[in-house]
Structures are given as structure tokens and as C-alpha cells.
């Protein structure tokens, strides 16, 4: 149906564009001076916009409002006994009606009440679709009439069109802000609901994480415990291992690429690092779980150590490799941004290249390098697939890298994948974790970006 609507929309756009531009040529004859303010194209676009915009807005409103109205109407067609206030039962009945309305295998086996509701749903949907098309065409027609009445030789069509375009561009850039607002609201509201069920201080300082809530009321361990500390420690442990790998290697790679490498070497080495950054994290996770973890376990057993099969070390090492390019490319940029005059001054005093780098370039680039490392840390904390595949699920409070630990992201994934009841503390706790994760990384990112900005200004 929406296909028909948009086909009509396209036809109307084309027709009104053609009408507008033709009219502009005709206006030339009417004009006393023989001139028209705007080019014919703009008259065309003006007409197209004034016809299409109401249609588009109508579609957005209608498409979001109509299904709910239809659902309510269809449910009211059911006998009162089948109308339930419980949202879950309502959703089930709705699904049945919808599948019966869509036809197919389920439609024949449905009960007569459902069938009746389904047929009413079908007819209502059809009605709503035709009504939407009719209303849309009517609005377009009104727009057309009003727009056509405004076309005159001195009509500023270009300015009007440009205003519309500017509005559209502003709307595009507001989407990014809306995304942030959406993220904040979606994690904030669910987190508040969680903290309504579970005290926040026990969440922040609790030492035990076991989100399993019982199915029956009389089961043992009926309510889960949501102590954040083990997750925080696990996340930090894996992040620390990753940074121990990524920081020195990334930094040295950046120094070599920026200061020593010949252009030819750079031309081959840079893509290699870019590929390392472009490999999807799920691939790293597979590699960590199936190659690195068994290897570490075997090595540990050989050395007489007890290594968990989902050790923090395996996940951390592979994550470290993944993060190398982030550290190196950002550091590479800041090292390159250090003015050559500083280096020349150091050489003039007789310093060797490495002394210049250690004593002059790195201190000058330090703020940038620190922010690169902060961004890498934020990336390591937010990384999901590697830890989901290679780290454990149990919230062990340990600092031993050979033990199995769990992280914030692993728990979010575990709590939210699969069937969920949307009111339980278990599901809501995932949003609380998301809230913590979002704000933690946000602070890191903002601080890092601020440092970089300051630093850029210093040398620009």
C-alpha cells in the first residue's frame, strides 16, 4: 500500500515540477519587463515541494497512528471475555488476529471470534489505506492550488526553495542530536525503573553479580543480586591487558611510521594497520575463542598453571591486537602535527633522532597521545563481541588474568538476548549497565576530544 502511496507521490512531484517550470516560461510573457525573478527550475521545485511536503508529513503521522487505532478497533470486535487488560495477553491475541488477517496456514485453524476480528481488521486496514491515499491527494491538490496562485513574475521562488532546503539540511544535522537524546532517554528511563526495584547503592557497591531471578516465587535465590563491582573489575582487567598490548606496540608503531619509515614502507604498512582495524570484531572473537584461548590454556597447563578455558588473558590479548591500529593511527596524527621547527632545534643542539623523539617530540605530542589512549580505552570498554565469545559469564571478583571474568557488555548481551519479560529487574538491569557504560565512555571521549582540540589550537 505504501508503495502505491509513494508512486502517487512521485507522479505528483513530477507533474507539479513540470507545471511549475512551464508556468515560469509563460510568466515571461506576462511580465512587464520581460523578466522573471527566479529560474524556471526553481518554480518547478517550489511547486513540487508544496505538493509533496504535506503528503510526506501526512504519511508519517498516519503510518504511526493508524495501526494502533486499527488494533484497538479489532480487539473491540472480540467478545468481552477475550478482551484482556493484561498487555501480554493482548499482544498474543493481536498476533493471532494479525496472522489470521494475513492469511496462510494459521488462518484456517483460527477460532471464529478471531476470524471475525481478523476480517474487521482487514477491512479497516483497507479503509485506512484508501483514506490515507485520498487525504494525501487532497492535501497535495490544495497545496498545488495555493502554490499555483502564488506564481507571478516577481515571485521569489528560489528564495523559498532555498529556505526549504536549508530546513531539510538542519533537520539532517539534528538527527545526530536526536540520536544522542534517544540513547540517553532509552537507557535513563529503563535504568530509573530498575533503580525503583533495586537500591542504587547496592548496585554500585555490591560485590556479587547473579542476575538469575527465579521463575516461581518459592524458589531459592528468588531475587537476583545485582552487584556491579565484579563486572567493573572484570571489564577493567580485560581492558588493562588489552592496553598493555596495544599501548606500547601502537605507540612504537606510530613513532616508527611518523619519524623513521620511508614513504615506501609507510605505503605498505599503513594499509596493513588499517586492515587490522577493519576486521570485524566477531572475527577477532572467533579467533580468541577457538585459537588463542586453547593455546593459552595448553601453555598454562604445560607450565603447571591452572588456566580457565575462558580466561581474561585470551580476550584481553586479542582485544589488544584489535586496538593497536586505534592507538597507532591517532598517535601518528598527533606526532605528525608536532612542528618540524621543534625537531630542527633539537637536532641543532646535537641530539640524535631517538633523543629528539623522546625528549622533544613525545613531550610536545603528549596531550594528543594521552587522548588517543583514552579513546582506545573507551573502545576497549565498549567492545562486545570479543568478550562475548572469549570471556566468561560468571561474575568472579578476581584480578587473576588466568581466571574467567565477565564484563559489562557481556552481561548486557546475555540479559537482553532471547525472550525477555520487560518488567523484571533482570532485564532492566541491562539498561542500568548500558547507562553506566554510556556515561563512562562518554566522559572518556569528551575529555579526550577536549584535550585534542586544545592541543590542535596550540600548534595551529
Amino acid at each position: 500500500m505504501s508503495a502505491t502511496y509513494f508512486a502517487a507521490l512521485a507522479a505528483i512531484v513530477l507533474a507539479s515540477y513540470l507545471y511549475g517550470s512551464r508556468r515560469a516560461y509563460a510568466l515571461r510573457a506576462l511580465s512587464p519587463s520581460g523578466g522573471v525573478h527566479s529560474l524556471p527550475v526553481y518554480h518547478g521545485w517550489y511547486m513540487a515541494a508544496i505538493c509533496a511536503l504535506p503528503m510526506v508529513i501526512l504519511f508519517m503521522v498516519w503510518a504511526s497512528a493508524a495501526p494502533r487505532w486499527i488494533e484497538t478497533q479489532a480487539i473491540q470486535k472480540l467478545p468481552v471475555a477475550m478482551q484482556s487488560a493484561d498487555p501480554l495477553a493482548r499482544a498474543t491475541v493481536l498476533r493471532e488476529i494479525a496472522s489470521a488477517a494475513a492469511g496462510g496456514a494459521l488462518a484456517q485453524s483460527a477460532s471464529p471470534e478471531i476470524k471475525q476480528a481478523a476480517s474487521s481488521m482487514q477491512s479497516l486496514t483497507e479503509l485506512s489505506n484508501w483514506a490515507m491515499l485520498g487525504a494525501g491527494l487532497g492535501l497535495a491538490g490544495l497545496g498545488f492550488l495555493w502554490g499555483a496562485s502564488r506564481l507571478r513574475p516577481d515571485f521569489r521562488a528560489r528564495n523559498t526553495v532555498e529556505k526549504v532546503v536549508t530546513g531539510a539540511l538542519i533537520a539532517c544535522s539534528v538527527v545526530a542530536v536526536l540520536t544522542t537524546v534517544g540513547i540517553v532517554f532509552s537507557v535513563l528511563f529503563e535504568s530509573l525503573r530498575f533503580f525503583g526495584k533495586y537500591p542504587w547503592n547496592e548496585f554500585l557497591f555490591g560485590l556479587q553479580w547473579s542476575p538469575q531471578t527465579a521463575m516461581r516465587a518459592d524458589q531459592i535465590g528468588q531475587s537476583g543480586t545485582f552487584g556491579f563491582v565484579p563486572l567493573f573489575v572484570g571489564t577493567m582487567l580485560i581492558m588493562l591487558i588489552a592496553m598493555l598490548v596495544a599501548t606500547p606496540i601502537g605507540l612504537f608503531a606510530a613513532i616508527y611510521m611518523a619519524e623513521y619509515a620511508t614513504p615506501k614502507f609507510r605505503a605498505t604498512a599503513k594499509p596493513v594497520l588499517e586492515i587490522l582495524a577493519g576486521v570485524p570484531t566477531v572475527v577477532y572473537g572467533f579467533f580468541a575463542a577457538l585459537t588463542v584461548a586453547p593455546l593459552i590454556r595448553a601453555a598454562g597447563n604445560y607450565a603447571g598453571l591452572d588456566v580457565a578455558s575462558e580466561s581474561a588473558l585470551a580476550a584481553g590479548l586479542v582485544m589488544g591486537v584489535m586496538i593497536i591500529p586505534f592507538v597507532s593511527s591517532l598517535s601518528d596524527d598527533v606526532i605528525n602535527a608536532v612542528p618540524q621547527s621543534l625537531r630542527d632545534g633539537s637536532y641543532a643542539l646535537g641530539a640524535t633522532k631517538s633523543e629528539t623523539i623522546k625528549k622533544v617530540v613525545l613531550p610536545a605530542a603528549l596531550p594528543g597521545i594521552v587522548s588517543a589512549i583514552m579513546l582506545a580505552i573507551s573502545r576497549a570498554i565498549g567492545e562486545t563481541m570479543i568478550v562475548v565469545m572469549a570471556a566468561g559469564l560468571a561474575g568472579n571478583l578476581t584480578f587473576n588474568p588466568l581466571d574467567s571474568v565477565t564484563t559489562i557488555t557481556v552481561q548486557i548481551k546475555t540479559l537482553l538476548v532471547g525472550d525477555q519479560e520487560f518488567d523484571s529487574a533482570k532485564t532492566l538491569s541491562a539498561f542500568a549497565l548500558g547507562f553506566v557504560l554510556f556515561f563512562f565512555t562518554l566522559i572518556l571521549n569528551m575529555a579526550a576530544l577536549k584535550i585534542v582540540q586544545k592541543y590542535r589550537e596550540q600548534y595551529d
Partner: protein
């Protein structure tokens, strides 16, 4: 001059530059060494990163390799009118027909267990192609159809040699057999099987050794328990003497438990010592025959078109049970028969000796072929490793990417144009700018939470659908595209804009007619890189339910679907060994797509980038 060479007086201190002494030369040498070392560290870091990439890619290629071929079995299937009804060809018993066809190759298979083992060689989807063929051409009913049937994953893995270690040994001597069915002996003459026997003895002695070590470990535990026991006894005695009844009772219970534990452990230890001793005796008896149980490697003898499974090996000959009957009981010439040693013991692998015998016989008959694994690319997901394919995931990825591209390209370019060309410098635009930069570094899983809470729960959009997946990924890559597009717009020199404005263009005309076309290569490059990023993204899609097990290839944007990276994640979680290679193969496909996309971006950048 004189001032400087004068001895230091007052506040003036003269400093002599020592550049000629030996100490100075050593110092310079040390500094140059430090220089070299530093440079080496840098090079080593770059090489380490490259090495990681090489290891990663080669490991995955190595794991993926077997999944690109598939073993298929050519078999003549009688499609009888009893099995398949002409009027309802779709519902016929094709599985039974294919089994009958395979059974016809092995007339001697009669026992239930043998039949079951033989059927398990076939995939549960072995008859699908036949069903389609017959439905398309009902005239085939009543005829015998030659089909190429899919083998089960275990059989496939065995034939590829990736699950079980087995090696063939051509026999250099003639062998006499005592019969063609039942329990027979294969006699190779004096000392013929000495090599095999010695190898078996080595394995037995290794088993004895590991058993002995286990016994020692148990003995140590028993000792520590007996130490505990002694301590408890002393405590018990002292408690009894002091008249502390409760403490005494506790220790009494403890003593009893320790005594029990000690007794069990000691019994276990001695039993294990005995069996280790027995094994060692067996191993040291070089001439004695060796019995093959399920904890030992299997020895199959392929002779005269049949297969004998050895039960006992002596220096001169082998006693064994016939699995596939021999054609005749005449002696087999050297080279006309061979031995197959399956190194992993039968109880630690999924494929039975019988099945290996069937497969080897089929292989000798030329009925087994290894072909390119097309079904992997043209079928949807399945619970059976040999039937699972990536088409569903590929189509799901394509739909998702389509939605992402349609949304994020106009939005991203529009936002970039506004921010770079039109936005006034004020607080609001500054906020938008900071916001975009931060959004680029938000963890991807948080976007999944957004999708779950907003699109699914608030707007009630269909779960698991490419539509929602595309929406979430569009928001995820939007900052990347905005940043890249802004950089591309910024690199167009102001002279272009000024020239356009100078001949009377409006600001928007200058941007849309002159600046934007020149920035297109840069915007394209950024978009492709952003899309490559979206194609490999997994975590946010897990949140919106694109993780369901879906067999059908999605047909619409609102159908439940999965995408390639999520498929990889799903398969990597499955315990069957057959899925490991499939996972790696899916990764190879995903990486190929990414390399093509990134390569395209590089080509675009190289060919169309304008340097001002």
C-alpha cells in the same frame, strides 16, 4: 677570549666540552646504540602488528578450507511406486528410497545396529534433491535414479581427514584369509605384522605410563588424607581426654569420613596400579598378541573388496571381524590390499569403525566425490552442519545494508553540508558538532539498546527485521559519514565558492552546483568505509533480536532475518565440529566483501581525489 680561558672566578664557571677523550667516544657509541635500539623497537612494533594480521588470516583460512568442498555420494536410488505416490509426489518416502539405494551396495548389512550405522552415513537432507527432481518430473517414479547424495557431517569430516587422524599403510607382503565373512584371520607370514604390533605395544606402554601417573596422583591424595586422619585422631583423643563431648563428636565424624575416603582411594589406587601393571606386562611382552579394544586405535584391513576390523594383532597375523564381506578367500598379493590405522580410539570419536569401513568401500568403488560446496552459498541456515548455508544471512545483510545506505547517505551528506557550509558559528551548532564527535565513539552495543528501547518497544517495529537493523546501523555509521563528508567538503578550496558567488550564484547554488560535485569522491570513500563498518557490526543487532535461528531466506524488509556477522556468531557457539569450518568459511566470505569494499574506497580515493 682571554676571559673565557681564565680560571673560574666569582660567578663565572667555565665548562670544558669533552669530545675527544675515550669516555666521550664511548658515550657517543652508547648514544648511537640507543638510537639503533629505539629504531628497532619501532620496526618490531609494526612487524608485530603485521604478524598478528598474517596469523589471524592464515588461521581462519586454514580452518575455512575444508568447508569449501563437500563429499557427495553417487548412489542408484529405486524410486518405487510404493514409496512415492504419483498423485502426491511431494510427500513420498524419499529418505527410505535413498537408504534402500545405499543398502543395495551393502547386501550383507542386516543387523539393526549395522543398518543404523549405514543410514547415519547419509545426511538427513540427502533426499532433498531427489524429491525436487521427482516432483519436477513424475515420470521418474518406478525407475532407478542416479543421484548425488549429501553425506552426514561426521562422514564428510572423516573423508576430509579433519576430525579423525587416520593413515593408510600399503602392505608389502601377501596375505591369506581364512574366510569371507564372520570372524576370520588374516595371515601374512612370519613377522608380517611386527611393525603394527610394535606400534600398538608403544601405545599400550604409553597408556600404562599415564595410568601409573594417575595412580601416583591418587596415592598422594590418599597420603594427605591419611595425614588429616592422623591429625583428627589426635584431636579426638585430646578432646575425649578433656571431656569435651561436642568437639569429640565432630572429630569422631571427621575421622570416620577420612577413614572411608582413605579406604576408597586406596582401593582405587591399587586397582589402577594393577591395571597399569597388566598393561605394562602386555606392552613388554614383545611377541605376545595385542587385543584391540575401544580405547585403542582401530586397525582396518581393506582386502579383496571387503573390510576386516582387527580384534587382535599378533606378529604373524591378525584376527578380526568382517564388516564388509570379502569377494573371495584366495590370497591377496602384496600391494593389492592395505591397512588403515585410525589413530583416535573409537570411543573418543563420533564416527564408528563400521562407518569408516562403509565409507572406505564406497571410496574404493569410486562412489564418493569431493566437489565444490555450492549448497553452502545457495541455502539457508540449518541445524545440520552439512546442510547449513549462508544465503539467508547474505540476503539479510543485503537488505540491512540497503536500509542503512538509503538512510545514512542523505542524512549524513545533508548534515555535513549544513555544518560545513551554512551553519552559523553559535552555541547550537557547536553542540551539534561536539555531539557528532562523541557519537562516533559511543560503544556499538549502546546503539543496540537504543534500537531495543525505541524502535522495538516504543514504536513497536517488527523484531529481528532488516528494517530495524538497518535503522540502528544507519544511526551507528551516521557520525562516520558526516565526519568524512565534512572533510571532503572542507578540502574543496574557497576559491571555487568565491568564483561561483562572484558570477552571481546564490550560496546554495555555489554549494550544490560547484562544491558538492567536487567533494563526491571523498564522500563516496567515506560512505563505503562506513558501510563496511556497518557490514561487520554484530553487537547492536543481537540486541534487536537478529539472532534468531531462521531457515528461510527473508523476502521482505520486515521479515525476520539474520546477517552474516550474526550468523558467524551463532555458528561459532554450536558444539558440532562441522560448524567450525562453516564459521570460518562464513568469515572468509565476510572478509572478502569487506576487502572488496575497502579496495573500492582506495581505488576511488586514488583515481578521483583532486589535490588542490
Amino acid at each position: 677570549m682571554t676571559d673565557i680561558s681564565m680560571p673560574a672566578t666569582g660567578t663565572f664557571v667555565q665548562r670544558q666540552l669533552d669530545v675527544t677523550s675515550q669516555a666521550a667516544a664511548a658515550r657517543v657509541k652508547r648514544r648511537y646504540r640507543a638510537e639503533k635500539r629505539f629504531r628497532f623497537y619501532g620496526l618490531a612494533a609494526v612487524l608485530f602488528a603485521a604478524l598478528c594480521l598474517v596469523i589471524l588470516l592464515s588461521d581462519i583460512l586454514n580452518k575455512a578450507w575444508p568447508a569449501f568442498t563437500q563429499s557427495r555420494l553417487t548412489v542408484d536410488v529405486p524410486v518405487t511406486a510404493e514409496a512415492v505416490d504419483v498423485n502426491n509426489a511431494g510427500a513420498g518416502d524419499y529418505d527410505g528410497a535413498v537408504r534402500d539405494g545405499l543398502r543395495a551396495v551393502f547386501p550383507a548389512v542386516t543387523s539393526r545396529a549395522d543398518k543404523k550405522a549405514l543410514n547415519a552415513v547419509l545426511s538427513s537432507g540427502a533426499s532433498d534433491a531427489l524429491r525436487r527432481q521427482v516432483m519436477a518430473n513424475p515420470a521418474l517414479i518406478g525407475q532407478t535414479v542416479k543421484i548425488s547424495a549429501t553425506l552426514s557431517s561426521d562422514a564428510d569430516l572423516y573423508l576430509k581427514g579433519s576430525a579423525t587422524r587416520a593413515h593408510e599403510q600399503p602392505a608389502a607382503f601377501a596375505a591369506k584369509v581364512s574366510g569371507t565373512t564372520g570372524s576370520i584371520t588374516v595371515d601374512g607370514g612370519a613377522g608380517a605384522f611386527a611393525g603394527e604390533l610394535a606400534a600398538l605395544k608403544r601405545i599400550t606402554s604409553a597408556r600404562a605410563e599415564s595410568m601409573r601417573r594417575e595412580a601416583t596422583r591418587l596415592a598422594t591424595t590418599a597420603q594427605s588424607i591419611s595425614a588429616d586422619l592422623k591429625a583428627s585422631e589426635t584431636r579426638l583423643a585430646s578432646a575425649t581426654a578433656a571431656g569435651e563431648k561436642e568437639v569429640a563428636a565432630t572429630y569422631d565424624a571427621l575421622v570416620k569420613r577420612h577413614t572411608e575416603n582413605k579406604a576408597t582411594l586406596e582401593a582405587q589406587t591399587s586397582a589402577m596400579r594393577d591395571s597399569a601393571e597388566a598393561l605394562r606386562n602386555r606392552a613388554s611382552d614383545i611377541k605376545g598378541s595385542e587385543n584391540l579394544d575401544t580405547a585403542m586405535p582401530s586397525l582396518l584391513i581393506l582386502i579383496k573388496g571387503g573390510v576386516v576390523k582387527a580384534t587382535s594383532v599378533s606378529v604373524d597375523g591378525v584376527k578380526g571381524d568382517v564388516i564388509v564381506p570379502l569377494a573371495s578367500d584366495t590370497a591377496a598379493q602384496p600391494g593389492a590390499w592395505k591397512m588403515l590405522v585410525v589413530e583416535s580410539p573409537e570411543d573418543s570419536r563420533k564416527i564408528q569403525d563400521r562407518q569408516i569401513a562403509f565409507l572406505e568401500t564406497l571410496k574404493q568403488k569410486g562412489a564418493v566425490q569431493s566437489v565444490f560446496n555450492w549448497p553452502f552459498f545457495v541455502s539457508g541456515d540449518s541445524r545440520e552442519p552439512e546442510l547449513a548455508g549462508i544465503l539467508g544471512a547474505l540476503v539479510g545483510s543485503a537488505y540491512t545494508m540497503l536500509v542503512t545506505l538509503l538512510l545514512c547517505l542523505p542524512l549524513g551528506v545533508g548534515a555535513a553540508i549544513y555544518l560545513e557550509e551554512f551553519a552559523p558559528k553559535n552555541r547550537l551548532t557547536n553542540l551539534i558538532e561536539v555531539n557528532i564527535n562523541n557519537l562516533a565513539a559511543v560503544p556499538s552495543i549502546v546503539f543496540g539498546l537504543l534500537g531495543l528501547a525505541m524502535f522495538l518497544n516504543f514504536f513497536g517495529m517488527p523484531r529481528s527485521s532488516p528494517l530495524v537493523g538497518g535503522l540502528v546501523l544507519a544511526l551507528l555509521v551516521l557520525p562516520t559519514i558526516i565526519i568524512a563528508s565534512r572533510a571532503a567538503l572542507k578540502s574543496v578550496p574557497p576559491s571555487i565558492r568565491e568564483a561561483a558567488l562572484g558570477v552571481g550564484a546564490s550560496k546554495q547554488q555555489a554549494v550544490f552546483h560547484h562544491v558538492l560535485p567536487l567533494a563526491v569522491p571523498g564522500i563516496m570513500t567515506g560512505t563505503i568505509i562506513g558501510m563496511a563498518h556497518a557490514l561487520g557490526e554484530t553487537a547492536p543487532l543481537l540486541m534487536i533480536g537478529m539472532i534468531a535461528f531462521i531457515v528461510d531466506v527473508p523476502a521482505r524488509l520486515t521479515d525476520a532475518a539474520t546477517v552474516l556477522p550474526v550468523q558467524i556468531f551463532l555458528w561459532s557457539d554450536l558444539p558440532e565440529l562441522g560448524f567450525q569450518a562453516k564459521t570460518a568459511a562464513a568469515i572468509v566470505v565476510l572478509l572478502l566483501f569487506l576487502f572488496v569494499m575497502n579496495g573500492l574506497a582506495i581505488v576511488l580515493r586514488k583515481r578521483f581525489e583532486i589535490r588542490w
